[in-house]
Symmetry: C2
Subunit: 394 residues, 2 copies
């Protein structure tokens, strides 16, 4: 018996999607579920009480960031990330892989989750291996520079697992190599093989019985490599799976379906770093159980609010005298108590409360949307919900 | 019957201090009380529910700031500042006088509430009238430049009252001229006479019966001018009084006692912009009922925390692994749930939650301290509390 259990409550007819129940040492997560990102052991601007009140069931923190600040040892001494941040619900950490590569990359080319068509140009660095010069990979691990102070650090699969054991979340991830989606097939194949060796090393390094370990499927935009990866990762006795790396937006849905056909049905699947509404529907349809993404909280801090009719920029002058909530039927704390005019004012004045109220609304919106997808799987209305929702959401 | 009532519950023996009850259209304030500052219709980073939970009974917003952003008309259309910001408790606004002069001044010389000894040099501008060139005063009113965009604006006593009626707080203030405490006696006398004419004009301009209007006593560091001011302002049928302007720290306590000997006992007295612990004790002792100050919230956002042993800088490395609350016996949300180590981490990482948790703690600390002063007046232990508290607080 592992640290978690997962059971399927209902499946979609004619698709891979399912509603499930995931139990962790710190509570139950009804899936599919959206996972708010609390990078530095805080979901930016809000408290754990607010995280729960808005309906979130589980929080993901970033190992890379916590390693650099305040350091994983502090987290261990605090009794784990949950205790440290005063959150007693389920937690997960990523392996640090994505950040190591993307924050190195960030100064040059950008490992992003989904590339736009216009970004499909191969830079020389990308052709030469997919990483900027701030990141150097070898068989053993990765050497990189801190995005905070430029100091040099090294992660290996064993070190990532050790850090994640110190941070102490309920669910942790294998350490993987994240590459540019623009990588040539040859390079991607070599990278994937290394990711597989690192997956096994991560699995072997993991000692804490009260933590679940998820393996990560990579393979970029190449369907055959994705299949190969799903088969290999499924062959290791992980507690669940992440689908990671970057994909081309057009290929993403195909690939997710392909991978989930192969992964064992009885274990949970997490799609890493995806949070656009359309992608959530496509992922749920194809059997994804968990999604994390910093998008709804990041755009909230710029005054971009999610609504059933799409994203709205609260800074626009048209909201100055709109004495009504962001969304009339929204049950979030923000919509229950504040007007667009007030939020407009807070953002105009750069008031801290604005970031917070927008964060609460956006997370509530997306958490409840994924909850609605779950309910619609159970009552058989998923495809209606998808069609109706996406028709309005533009 | 005015908008407010004020009754005295208990008086100090041998001093002017008293515990009272102030009723407003939006609820009761047990005095003496500390009034958090919500400059732009928000107590920075916290919600009205948190304002109440930390024990605050009334909030002060700044007319100058709200006039510039979002504009007082918005507030009127929202149904008043309380409705606009989702706060149903008692509210007050200042007249805009202090900000007009101090924010103009800020580019040059600084009207501050309390000057340090080292700042007692008279600049040429101050000798010539006490205002920077960005502010121009005449008998009718003041022309000034916005600190936001440099645009030119004009306030008069009538305009200030009109704005405050639009903003709609329970308690509003007469419009006064705020000068440098370093002003010559001659200049101060002339300024005071104008402030008195403006007080009368403010009184005559006030129309809303559901708002109380407080007159403001000025007169700088000159005891005889302060007495003269208290007598004149007391002769107008204001609902209460503010003691305003800047004073030399050494003279402040003397002057407050002097003024409060003259002001009618049965009306509330507000000391404008004072929030240092020692000053609160001295003010309460001498019969001040209300204090507002941005200090506890402003220093909170720099990581400075108020404790029984004085101010602490949470950014200091010594707090990195201190897994204990800021204050062991503090009942605030922050101390009940978070450690110094976590707050240290949040401030190191510039996380928004840090500003919020520090704000909650500092406001709770100061609000409860003034509440303790009130309780000690009632049970006869005020002078013991003062002595014991100040002996530790350094």
């Amino acid at each position: 018996m592992g640290a978690i259990t997962f059971s399927i409550e209902k499946k979609l007819t004619g698709a891979l999607g399912r509603a499930g129940i995931l139990t962790t040492p710190h509570g139950t997560v009804r899936t599919p579920a959206f996972v708010p990102v609390g990078t530095l052991a805080t979901v930016k601007s809000i408290t754990p009480e607010e995280i729960k009140a808005l309906g979130a069931q589980i929080v993901l923190a970033n190992t890379y960031h916590l390693y650099l600040q305040p350091g994983e040892a502090i987290m261990a001494r605090a009794g784990g990330v949950g205790k440290f941040m005063h959150y007693d619900g389920p937690t997960m950490t990523d392996s640090g892989g994505f950040q190591v590569f993307s924050l190195g990359f960030a100064r040059g080319h950008g490992v992003t989750k989904v590339l736009k068509k216009t970004e499909k140009r191969l830079s020389r660095d990308e052709q030469q291996g997919g990483h900027a010069k701030l990141v150097s990979v070898d068989e053993e691990g990765v050497t990189f520079m801190s995005h905070i102070d430029g100091s040099t650090h090294r992660f290996t699969p064993e070190r990532s697992i050790e850090m994640q054991e110190n941070i102490g979340a309920d669910i942790i991830f294998a350490f993987d190599e994240c590459t540019s989606p623009l990588l040539s097939r040859e390079k991607m194949e070599a990278s994937l093989k290394r990711t597989h060796r690192w997956a096994k090393r991560s699995f072997d390094a993991h000692t804490r019985k009260d933590q679940a370990l998820f393996g990560i499927v990579q393979g970029g935009r190449y369907p055959d490599l994705r299949k190969q990866s799903a088969e290999y990762i499924a062959s290791i006795d992980f507690d669940g799976f992440g689908i990671g790396g970057s994909f081309d937006k057009d290929d993403m849905t195909t690939i997710v379906g392909l991978v989930n056909e192969i992964l064992p049905e009885g274990k949970p699947r997490h799609m890493l770093g995806i949070g656009e509404i359309e992608d959530l529907f496509e992922g749920v349809k194809r059997g994804i159980d968990l999604f994390d993404c910093a998008l709804p909280t990041r755009i909230a801090r710029n005054g971009t609010l999610l609504t059933a009719n799409g994203k709205k920029d609260i800074l626009k002058a048209e909201y100055k005298e709109r004495f009504e909530p962001i969304e009339k039927n929204c049950g979030c704390y923000t919509c229950m108590n504040y007007t667009k005019a007030y939020l407009h004012h807070l953002f105009k004045a750069n008031e801290l409360l604005g970031y917070r109220l927008a964060t609460i609304h956006n997370l509530y919106f997306i958490v409840h949307l994924v909850d609605a997808m779950r309910a619609s799987i159970i009552d058989g209305s998923f495809f209606d919900l998808k069609k109706e929702f996406l028709a309005k959401y533009r």
